[in-house]
């Protein structure tokens, strides 16, 4: 049994004055996330990430398809006892203080009265808000609100946590802190499903990622595969612009700055290039394999179909 199983979940909205036109926000989505996995849901703005999360949280209803969280249908409110959720750019009841807000959410999540206060104190400490006292949330900065947001998402110690753009709009310090908090959840063995359009965050935290674009899942991959994939190209930098003329058939994308030359070579031709540079008495500065990155994968998934469509049109 997976922690999250999505089977053909789709969402269309009726638009226009007479609601006769249909706009697809999410095409049938099939996706599984295993227990303890950190899954990154990547996509540009408006790709369908938030729609998916809203469907899973019961905020909107699917046009078709089903999904289960921890083996229970998403329509069953009881499954929410084990689910934590941080919405994108969360807004909380700003007339409450952080402890009051957490107490409210703890009650709604069924946290026993006996452990509620100690849990709130522990979480405020953990998210770095121990000293906020009874200050109302309306006086909180965006970064502080995001910390409160994470605290409310885990107040009931959920098994699976859904985070919608958790680092969005934060300054570098805030992003670092939130990343640390997510890493802690990951270390605790929680299943984490988080959406983001910031690839470095996904690369740092996720075990697997899925790329969604224009409401369609374009691909799912293991992050480590991107890191360890064998490079088919290598970047070579050497000193000795005079040697360039004899290797033009081997290198591409060359840039010359003074006597320094930078070029890209197919890995198959690397040995021949190095041999020729030695013969020309060029001084080698660096040889760096160009691995496929998450960014390459992301761009490939989001651009590939655009190009296909362009080709069909022309």
């Amino acid at each position: 049994m997976h922690a999250l199983e999505i089977q053909g979940l789709a969402k269309d909205y009726a638009v226009g004055f007479w609601k006769k036109t249909s706009r697809t926000a999410l095409k049938p989505l099939h996706l599984n996330v295993t227990h303890g996995e950190t899954f990154g849901f990547l996509g540009p703005n408006g790709a369908g990430k938030t729609t998916t999360l809203k469907l899973l949280m019961g905020i909107i209803f699917p046009t078709s398809g089903t999904a289960t969280i921890l083996g229970r249908d998403i329509g069953d409110p009881e499954v929410k006892r084990k689910v934590g959720f941080l919405p994108e750019q969360p807004y909380f009841y700003d007339y409450l203080s952080a402890p009051e807000l957490l107490d409210y959410y703890a009650r709604l999540s069924g946290v026993p009265a006996g452990t509620r206060q100690s849990r709130i104190a522990e979480l405020l400490e953990r998210v770095g808000l121990r000293d906020v006292g009874n200050k109302q949330l309306r006086k909180f900065s965006k970064g502080m609100l995001q910390r409160v947001g994470i605290a409310q998402a885990i107040i009931h110690d959920p098994e699976i946590v859904f985070l919608d753009e958790p680092m969005s709009g934060l300054d570098p310090v805030g992003r670092h802190d939130v990343r640390e908090l997510i890493q802690q959840l990951k270390d605790q063995g929680k299943t984490i499903f988080f959406s983001t359009h910031i690839l470095s965050d996904a690369e740092a935290l996720c075990d697997r990622v899925g790329v969604i674009h224009k409401g369609e899942l374009r691909g799912v991959g293991v992050v480590n595969d991107f890191r360890s994939s064998v490079a088919d190209k290598t970047e070579v930098i050497w000193l000795g612009a005079g040697a360039l003329a004899s290797v033009t058939d081997l290198v591409s994308d060359t840039h010359t700055t003074g006597d320094t030359v930078r070029g890209t070579v197919q890995s198959d031709n690397l040995d021949r290039l190095l041999e020729k540079l030695r013969q020309q008495r060029a001084r080698l500065i660096s040889v760096t394999p160009i691995n496929q990155t998450l960014e390459d994968y992301f761009l490939a998934q989001t651009q590939e179909k655009e190009e296909e469509k362009e080709a069909v049109r022309s």
Partner: protein, 258 residues
């Protein structure tokens, strides 16, 4: 379920208090104090009539205004500010949210009315120099005002589940005005014929009837209110409120929150 319901109820009450809704009590006291010189100029016997009419009408009107202006935002504000997202992501049923919101605003109005009642009786003691056993009937009028609040909160809550705050306020206020003349609508239905009679009768049953809940003039003249009317009004207000709140739940259960 009880814990979630009470949490939402108390949070709604707390929001109203922190948004300074109860500041209207200051206005109520000022109104009573400012009217004292006017009342004292009027001959004995009329003084009390004036004060009872003024006091009870104010308790009713202040409450209805709060019911409309807080009620219209009960659900729509939570949708607009997306605070609902973190509520629905918990084991909270949608009907529990609606019921909690309803009870929270009703609690606010009852607390408000009780505090106003205390002020009103103090005013009677100060200006009229004493209470009469028949003044107990004033409490029946206040009880009917609270029944009126029950119905108004359900109405504003229903509009709040699908309409914008401005339209909700217009709709709710219109229903309040129509309901105030509820008996006239029924009389008109009784006198009409054909399709008009059918339509007017249907409207008379659908629209709230606040007229039967208004016994201010009666108690101001120290006339008693029959136990049958108390029972009838209680059952009517309960059934009407439950029916309208159920409609609010039905709308909200199906709503996609964008």
């Amino acid at each position: 379920m009880t814990s979630r319901l009470s949490a939402i109820t108390l949070n709604t009450f707390r929001e109203a208090v922190r948004d300074r809704v109860l500041y209207n009590l200051v206005l109520f006291v000022l109104l009573l104090v400012a009217s004292a010189p006017v009342i004292s100029q009027i001959s004995i016997g009329m003084e009390k009539l004036m004060l009872v009419n003024l006091g009870l009408s104010s308790i009713s009107l202040f409450g209805v205004i709060i019911a409309i202006f807080v009620g219209i935002g009960l659900v729509s504000k939570e949708i607009e500010k997306k605070t609902l997202y973190t509520i629905l992501a918990r084991p909270v049923r949608r009907w529990e949210f609606i019921a909690g919101k309803y009870l929270g605003l009703l609690l606010t109005l009852v607390v408000n009315a009780v505090l106003m009642t205390v002020g009103f009786y103090l005013a009677l003691l100060v200006f009229i120099h004493g209470l009469h056993p028949a003044d107990g009937m004033l409490l029946v009028a206040i009880y009917f005002i609270i029944l009126q609040f029950m119905m108004m909160v359900a109405i504003t809550l229903l509009f709040s589940t699908f309409s914008t705050p401005i339209f909700s306020a217009i709709f709710a206020f219109s229903l309040f005005v129509i309901g105030t003349f509820g008996n006239d609508l029924r009389n008109f239905a009784a006198m009409s014929n054909g399709a008009t009679k059918w339509l007017a009768t249907a409207a008379a049953y659908i629209m709230p009837n606040f007229a039967s809940l208004n016994v201010i003039s009666q108690v101001a003249h120290q006339q008693s209110v029959g136990g049958q009317l108390v029972l009838f009004n209680t059952v009517y207000a309960l059934l009407y409120s439950v029916a309208v709140a159920a409609a609010a739940v039905l709308v909200f259960e199906r709503r996609n929150l964008k």
